[in-house]
């Protein structure tokens, strides 16, 4: 056991390299996905019925599909139609497309919960346009959706592990390759699990901080 552990510790740079890829893939998905999610939320709230219906069918459909199948569709399926991506593009675009659907729903919910009274009050105080959005609407959107976005970030991080199947060298891939070279399954996968856990705890802590800040604002 201690032998296994020392092998894992000797290769800690491999694990950190994998973790690094996991983290940047997750962060890129979080940023791009939530921005695109704003657009999707706008479409979901569109007064044009046809736009709203089509978007909501697409979003609900995507949320029924397993993430790995979307990866297969993009990486293995599309080349049949002559559309070819390298593994990084395929993996990252699958992450972004999939989670944009979830972000769209989260942001739509937050938007519906923005207090109309406060918006009216803001208008009465002479706020309008971008200033109204930045000072009155955006803080409410941010604080009310923070817990759900934090939760979604954890799902994103866990979904990046699926990308090992298309040989993207993220954290689980790193653990699997150490295990197959040195046959140290317990120590290597446990190390990966612990790293995922630490990231999750950090995300949860961040969300907690934001919630505290939200309470302070209200007080």
């Amino acid at each position: 056991m201690s032998h296994d552990l020392s092998i894992v510790l000797q290769h800690y740079t491999d694990f950190l390299f994998g973790l690094g890829n996991t983290l940047w893939l997750s962060a890129a998905t979080l940023i791009v996905g939530s921005l695109l999610g704003c657009v999707v939320a706008g479409l979901l709230l569109s007064p044009a019925r046809i736009v709203q219906r089509t978007t909501s069918i697409l979003v609900d459909g995507l949320r029924c599909v397993p993430f790995l199948l979307l990866v297969y569709l993009i990486y293995y399926g599309l080349p049949q139609l002559g559309i070819r991506f390298d593994r990084w593009t395929a993996g990252l675009s699958a992450l972004i497309i999939y989670h944009t659907a979830y972000f769209g729903e989260i942001i739509r919910g937050a938007w519906l919960n923005v207090s109309r009274d406060q918006v009216e009050a803001g208008r009465a105080f002479g706020y309008s346009g971008l200033l109204l959005f930045r000072r009155i609407i955006l803080p409410q959107l941010f604080f009310s959706s923070a817990p759900l976005i934090g939760n979604q970030s954890i799902y994103i991080m866990k979904d990046t592990a699926f990308l090992m199947i298309i040989t993207i060298p993220e954290l689980t891939f790193a653990a699997a390759s150490i295990q197959s070279t040195y046959f140290v399954p317990f120590a290597s996968f446990l190390a990966a699990v612990l790293l995922y856990w630490i990231v999750t705890l950090a995300i949860e802590r961040g969300v907690h901080r934001i919630e505290l800040a939200a309470e302070l604002r209200r007080a």
Partner: protein, 212 residues
């Protein structure tokens, strides 16, 4: 046609393995939640740690850990047993949180009243608590089931020929990956819709029973 039966077989494997994990995971989650709710010293904090770690672990990493580490520790295990165990470990942690939140929200007045009537804790659980918390927990439990089915392709990595793996193989054999992937997607959506429909049916029958 042969391809379609391969795909259907894969769908049955996915349904059976997820089903086994769900059937065992719901009561297991309830037991874990009860231990946490009663704040049984020692055990309660171990479960809190278990839940916290399991919720942060990708299913695919967990599947690899279970499948490769158990034999290394001297426990022989087949791929499909490892798959059920993986899904069970994962879903029981999420179910524990669902049951626990229902228990923590349970009305204190009712517990007091039951105690005043001299009910023992097991009787109180059977007659008062459980009949109410399962109804409030049903929607989040079904939601967790759908999440589990959607994450279940992770078990393909340890060699289980589930729906995803079946689609993958057909694609590799026929050099036409697109049709099997799309067909598998439709089958997954059907599995998810069946779960949601079951929830609706149960809720409707409960409502009817309560109305009479």
């Amino acid at each position: 046609m042969a391809d379609f039966s391969t795909l259907l077989h894969g769908a049955l494997v996915t349904a059976a393995i997820s089903g086994a994990a769900i059937v065992c995971g719901i009561p297991l989650g309830l037991v874990l939640a009860l231990i946490r709710w009663r704040r049984i010293a020692g055990l309660s904090s171990i479960i809190a740690l278990y839940v916290s770690i399991l919720r942060a672990t990708p299913l695919i990493t967990l599947a690899l850990l279970v499948f490769f580490a158990l034999p290394a520790l001297g426990v022989a295990i087949s791929a499909s047993t490892a798959a059920v165990l993986t899904l069970l470990l994962n879903t029981s942690a999420f179910n524990c949180e669902i049951w626990r939140s229902a228990l923590e929200d349970f009305s204190f007045d009712q517990l007091e009243a039951a105690r005043a009537f001299g009910m023992s804790p097991p009787l109180m659980f059977r007659r008062i608590i459980f009949p109410q918390i399962w109804r409030t927990s049903l929607p989040p439990l079904v939601n967790e089931m759908t999440l589990l089915v959607k994450a279940s392709p992770a078990i393909a990595v340890i060699g289980v020929v589930d729906l995803t793996q079946a689609a993958n193989r057909i694609g590799a054999d026929t050099y036409q990956p697109l049709p099997p992937i799309l067909a598998a997607t439709v089958l997954y959506v059907l599995l998810v819709l069946i779960l949601v429909a079951l929830q609706r049916i149960i809720e409707r029958s409960v409502r009817r029973k309560l109305a009479v």
